[in-house]
Symmetry: C2
Subunit: 405 residues, 2 copies
């Protein structure tokens, strides 16, 4: 059951971007599993991919194509990750790009392939190619929600959001969709995320912006610590809003960055809300560090602790497990006697020891909520970091023990 | 259910060491929860403790006492970890040492305290002190199995083993006991382990020996990646066998080290066999690394992956998750195309791709076993490392979600 995740009712279309979703027969359920996005000529595209050394065939091909041309089309399939499939997998990914290129009169390097699903099974590329003519005919600017559904795997709900702002007296729209519910500990990008805007943005500025906003959004999530083989995030700026090209010297640049950052955080949080088996949405805020890196190190150690995660599932205010995880996080000269710990507004630990008068029942009341903020103050500096995570439930074990059956 | 762990039938007594176990009322079940060990004068004692920055009060006191005197008595309680209890916790630990010292006519610094159990509750030290006169009267050389039972928490079976060897025509005996089934990722020592031998060993050599054998035994285990706050391992050499003092220049030193190493491995493996909710005993062997450190890094990343652990629970030969974990383990310039992967004797992956003719059913048959060896060959050097771990089952979630209820 997703935690505080609403049904998607509306996503704003983006001038210059068209989408379609269909069922190519890759998902056993018969649900949509193939999505095509097309991008107008002159658009700028920035992308980020998994840092996992074992990266999937479509990641290899997409990086290769990106290095050669600005993309005009993105083909995404769910139900099969095309990972661990070797040279045959790369060949299949290229074949699917060729099929799209033929129909749209593009070069195959102008098409980027993306896959998500089971690892280690060969991509049924003929099923995909057979569906291309149909899906091309369904392209439409208003199909973002259908696309968000088409890229789902263990996700229980489609995830996406939109923002609008004014720049140069033009209305700028940003819309993004995302999928992912397990094998989530993004490093550069999360499972699959596609963000479009009609803003006109300089290419280099767009790539820098993507890197910047990722750090504090998709790269600050973890469900299970398992960085995927297929992570990819693409931002498309169609330029159709006809504003002055955005870059750091444009007066509205901070405004645009802030809208992007907020959209990326909402997309990232949606993944945690829909985490496999999740019953809790957890914000881990680590403050008082001597660097941001060490704050993130503590936050990730806590977020990955199976004992912390099972305590969250049990709504058990087990601060001993929190302190134990902080203590093993590998920070040099960490002094537990300087640490303060909060659950929501409740201060449990002050200077490494339970606060006078703290009652377990106060902590339990906070832990019983669906959305929990754990605040850890290290007392050794002024840096901070936030990481979002979920709990470890029976349902997580069931989903991942039965994934291939 | 423990995996391949037999009921303890016999542990050899060690001349110079006496033990007793009793119930002080710390465990709700009424089972034994207090153990006393005494050591003859002239014995050498080496110890290792948790590297967790958040270490328990008894760890702080034991380190302090060890720095001052050679221990003559060890007092161990289960049911309460005396961790996160601040200065009051340290005071309680010292009080319990004083109670033992009074009865045995020792200085309080000759007594080491150890605790294991729930974190963050104050130690009911008066219950412990009240029981000391009784337990002193029960001291006996043949109570190792009773002691192994008395130190249990979520353990389902007592764990220990013995070894004998001949040095200088004297029979040397080594006996060890260990507890721990969760919060296990030892860093210097595991939860609680006590090893006795009647060998005469130089003090400095004993400490070096401990460090050496720990690396490839208790420090190569992980159940959940959560390093405990109370880890401690103590080796006592009573010297009663009257052999020539053992040190690296004694011709039988390698013989003695090898017996110790084998006993430590058996003790460590017993913890994994009794891991919380475990249905599998898993040996992760990483070969072909350019350093031992990087082999351990890969092994621990795989061992901590929730996706690998749930696949093990499901007996699913999901090599994609294994490769994904190897790929995210952080090794620089890791080339997935050089990696070979074996389940038992079955070669699944050669050069990063499925072996021609490999059938999923072959892998599943191997995964269906209770004891599984996963062998990962990195193809970038000659170093190797072995780590032992368990799977992630529903029972693990249940045990840790309900631990404090």
């Amino acid at each position: 059951m997703p935690v505080g995740l609403r049904h998607l009712e509306k996503l704003s279309p983006i001038k210059g971007i068209q989408l379609a979703s269909d069922a190519a027969g890759l998902k056993k359920s018969g649900a949509d599993d193939l999505v095509l996005m097309t991008v107008n000529e002159g658009a700028e595209v920035a992308a980020a991919f998994t840092q996992n050394a074992f990266c999937a065939a479509p990641v290899i091909v997409a990086k290769d194509h990106l290095a050669k041309r600005t993309p005009r089309a993105l083909l995404i399939n769910a139900g099969n990750a095309n990972a661990g499939t070797g040279t045959r997998g790369e060949y299949s990914a290229r074949q699917s790009c060729q099929a799209v290129a033929r129909m749209l009169n593009l070069d195959e390097t102008e098409v980027l392939p993306f896959s998500t699903g089971v690892i280690g099974e060969h991509l049924p590329v003929e099923k995909i190619c057979r569906k291309i003519p149909d899906i091309v005919n369904q392209l439409d600017a208003d199909s973002w929600i259908e696309a968000a559904k088409g890229i789902m795997t263990t996700d229980t709900l489609p995830k996406g959001c939109s923002r609008q702002l004014t720049i140069d007296n033009k209305t700028i729209t940003i819309t993004g969709i995302i999928k992912g519910a397990g094998m989530i500990c993004p490093n550069m990008a999360t499972m699959l995320a596609f963000i479009g805007t009609d803003a006109c943005v300089d290419g280099a500025a767009l790539q820098d912006l993507l890197k910047q906003v990722l750090t504090h959004s998709l790269n600050s999530l973890t469900i299970d610590g398992d960085t995927s083989t297929n992570d990819a995030c693409v931002v498309i700026a169609s330029g159709q809003a006809a504003n002055q090209p955005l870059n750091p010297s444009h007066p509205d640049w901070p405004h645009f960055v802030s809208a992007m950052q907020s959209l990326f955080i909402e997309l990232g949080q949606a993944v945690i809300r829909d985490a496999e088996g999740a019953t809790k949405f957890v914000t881990l805020r680590v403050e008082g560090g001597s660097t941001e890196t060490e704050c993130r190190q503590v936050a990730y150690t806590v977020a990955h602790s199976p004992l912390v995660k099972t305590a969250l599932f049990a709504s058990d205010a087990n601060w001993g497990r929190l302190l134990a995880a902080i203590g093993r996080s590998g920070l040099e000269h960490l002094d537990i006697n300087l640490i303060d710990l909060y659950l929501g507004e409740i201060n449990l630990i002050k200077g490494g020891q339970p606060v006078d008068g703290y009652q377990d029942s106060d902590g339990q009341a906070e832990m019983a909520k669906n959305e929990i903020t754990v605040r850890i103050v290290l007392g050794r500096g002024t840096y901070a970091a936030t990481v979002w995570t979920s709990d470890l439930s029976h349902e997580y074990v069931t989903i991942n023990a039965e994934y291939r059956t």
